[in-house]
Symmetry: none
Subunit: 415 residues, 2 copies
Amino acid sequence: MNPIYIEIIAIGDELLYGQTLDTNSHWISSELDKVGFKVTRRTTIGDREDEIMRAFAEAEQRASIVLITGGLGPTNDDLTKPCLAKFFDCEVAINEEALEEVTAFFKKRGRELTEVNRQQAALPVCCTKITNAIGTAPGMWFDRNGKVFVSMPGVPHEMKMMMSNIIIPKLKQQFRTPSIIHQIVRTIGIGESFLAEKIKVWEDSLPSHIKLAYLPSTGEVKLRLTGMGTDEKALKKEIDSLVEKLLPLAGQYIYCVGDHPIEKVVGDLLRDKGFKLSIAESCTGGYVSHLITSVPGSSEYFLGSMIPYDYELKMRQLGVRPETLEKFGAVSEPTIIEMANNVRARFNANIGVATSGIAGPGGATPDKPVGTIWIAYSDKYKTETKLLKLTQDRLVNIRYTSTALLGLIWQNIRK
Amino acid sequence: MNPIYIEIIAIGDELLYGQTLDTNSHWISSELDKVGFKVTRRTTIGDREDEIMRAFAEAEQRASIVLITGGLGPTNDDLTKPCLAKFFDCEVAINEEALEEVTAFFKKRGRELTEVNRQQAALPVCCTKITNAIGTAPGMWFDRNGKVFVSMPGVPHEMKMMMSNIIIPKLKQQFRTPSIIHQIVRTIGIGESFLAEKIKVWEDSLPSHIKLAYLPSTGEVKLRLTGMGTDEKALKKEIDSLVEKLLPLAGQYIYCVGDHPIEKVVGDLLRDKGFKLSIAESCTGGYVSHLITSVPGSSEYFLGSMIPYDYELKMRQLGVRPETLEKFGAVSEPTIIEMANNVRARFNANIGVATSGIAGPGGATPDKPVGTIWIAYSDKYKTETKLLKLTQDRLVNIRYTSTALLGLIWQNIRK
C-alpha cells in the first residue's frame, strides 16, 4: 500500500498575523490520524489571491488529498471560492440545492435572505456541494486526476461537522488505509511521571507495532495505545488484553477505558445508581456545573447549583453559619463542609459537592496564597474534603479544581 | 519599501499527527506582527529528511526570512541540524562556546554531561550560534544572499526567550519594516452579512493601504482594520478617524473599540456604575457565570447565581410560581421574567438575568423545538426578554445563548 500524501491549507490573515490560533488544522490532523490517514504537510497562508493560487498548485504537485479551511464567508476578503473556480477552470453559478438550504437556514431563524447570503449558494459548477448543516457556507469537493481538493468553512463547529459526517467517510471510500486501532485509557488523580513509573514494566513489554503516548491535560492524563497492522480483529484483541494487564497496575486512577470525559463518566454513574447531584460553587464560578450540563441528558441526575460568589450569599442562600465564616473564613475546611452538606440538604439531593478557594490573581492572604482551594463531597454517609494547592493562573485553577472535584465524585460513587 | 516575505517552518511528527497543538507558530506570528513584520506563510512538516530539505528550498525561493522551530533535540528523530548543514553545505563541529554553555547547564543541575548532550554543542560551522539561556539546544542563524534562516528549539519557553531577546532585535537591525497598525472593533447582536450591508459604503471607501477583515465567532463578529505605511502616527490617526466614521453606521452593535471580550466589557461597566449582578441559569447550566467569573476581580460586581436545572428547584429555590410553570412551561416568557426578577430580588442585586430553553438534543416538544431559548434582563425599572431560535447543537446553543445574554446586559447598561 503506497502512503497517501495529505496536506491541509488554512487560509486567513487572522491566522498569519497571530490573532486567531489555528485549532482547525490540529483537529483535522488528529481525526485523520485516528482512521489511518497521516497528514504530511500543513500550510497557512493569508487572504491574497496570488498566495492562495500558488499554495494550491504546490499542494497538487505533492499530495493526493488537499483539505482547505477558511475564506468562505460572504464578504469581499473571502477568496477561497473564486480561487478554486480559477484553479479548476470552471464557472461559478447558483447551486439550486445550496440555495434551498441557505434559504431554509434563514427562514428557520425568521430572517430574510439578502443578496450577500444568496451568493453563498453560488458554487464552482465542477465541484460537488457538501451540505453545511449548521451554517450558510457549503463545502466543496473537487476531483481531478485521482486527486481530491476539499474546501470547508473556517468556523470550527461547521468544519468539524462536515469532516466527521461527510468528508472522512468519503475519503475512506476513495482511498485505502492500513488498519490502525487506537485505545484511549483515561486516568485522574495522578501526574504523568508518577503514572509512568507505576506502569514502566508494562510499557517496556509492549510489542514494537503498538505505541504508547502520554497525553496530559489539566488535572488528568490520557494514555493512548496505537496499534498498526493488517488484521484489525487480531489487533483489537491484542490491545484489549494489554489494557487488561494495565488494570492491576493503575486501576485506581483509570476512570475510563475509552475516550469519555470525566463529566460523562460521572453522569453515567449517577444515572445508573439513581443518584441526584447538587453543586455549590464558589471559586469555580459555574465551571463545574457547565461541565456537568455539557453532557446531553444531564437533567436526569443534575438538580442544580448555587454559586454564592458573594460572602453574604454563602450565609443567606446556602445557610453557612456566620460563626463558621467569621472564625475560619470562606476558604476553609469547616466552610466547605457546610457548603457541601447544605447544598445537598437544601436541594434535596443524594450528593452535594462544593468548591471554595482563591483562584487569583487577587484575594490572597499571608496564610492563604493564590491557588489555595478546598473541595468537598457529601452524601448521607460521609463528607470528604480535599485541599488543593494550585498555580498563579486563574483559569488553570478554575479548570484544575473542576476536574479534581469530578474526580472526587467518581472516587466516591464508582464502587 | 518592498514587503519582506517571512515564513515559519514548524518541524515535528507530533504536530502533524495532531498530538501537540502548534502554539509556537501562532506566538511568533503575533510577536512579529507587533513590530511590523508580516508572516506570509507557515508550514508544518514531519521528521523526514526529504520533506525538510524540500521545505527549506521552497521557502528560500519565496521568502527573505525563514524561522524554523523544532527538531533540535538530542535524539535520532531530530533532523533539523543535519538538514541545515546539508542545505548550507557546511561541516558540523563542536562549538567551544556552546560546549561551555551546555556543560555549565548540566553542572548547575548537578548532572554529568553525557555524549548525547555533548553533541548538542556541535553546530554547522557556517552558522552564528544563538545562546539558549534556559535549555541545552542552541539556536542557529544563517545568512546567505541577503536571506536569513534561523533555527530554534520547539520547546515553547526556550523558543520565546530566544525570539524576544536575540532574534527579533537582530531582525529589526537587518531589515527595515513598514509600520503596521491593527485596530479591532468588536460587535454583538448582528450577523456578519447584515453587518457587511450596514457598513458597505464605509467599507468601499477604505483607502487601499487599509484592509478590513470580518472575524465571526459564536454570537459575535469582530472587525479588524489593518493599515500599512511608513508614518505610524499618521496611520494611527487615520484609522482612528475611520473608526469614528463607523460609529454612526453600526454603533449600536459595537461594544468594544479594542479587543476585550464581552464579559470583560460588561464587567467594567458594572464596576463603573456600582451595579451588582445576579444570574439564574437554566439551559446554559453555569456557562454565563463561568464567563463572568473568568474575569479577574469579578467578585466586585458579581454576587452569585442560581442554577435551578430541576423543575422543582425553579419553584422551591427561585420562587417561580407553580401556576406560571404549569400554564406556560419552564421555557416561556412568563417563566423567564419571574426567573430574572426573582434572582435579582432574592440575591439583593441591581440586575438579574436569566436563561431557560431547550439546549438539546432531547427535551423538544411540538411547539418548542430544540434551540428554543428565552433570555431576560431585569433591573428596578424594567424587564426585557428575548426569544432565540438556535441550532441542534447543544454546546453551540449554550455558548450562543451565553454571549447573547451578555449582549443583552450590555445593551441595557451601556448608556
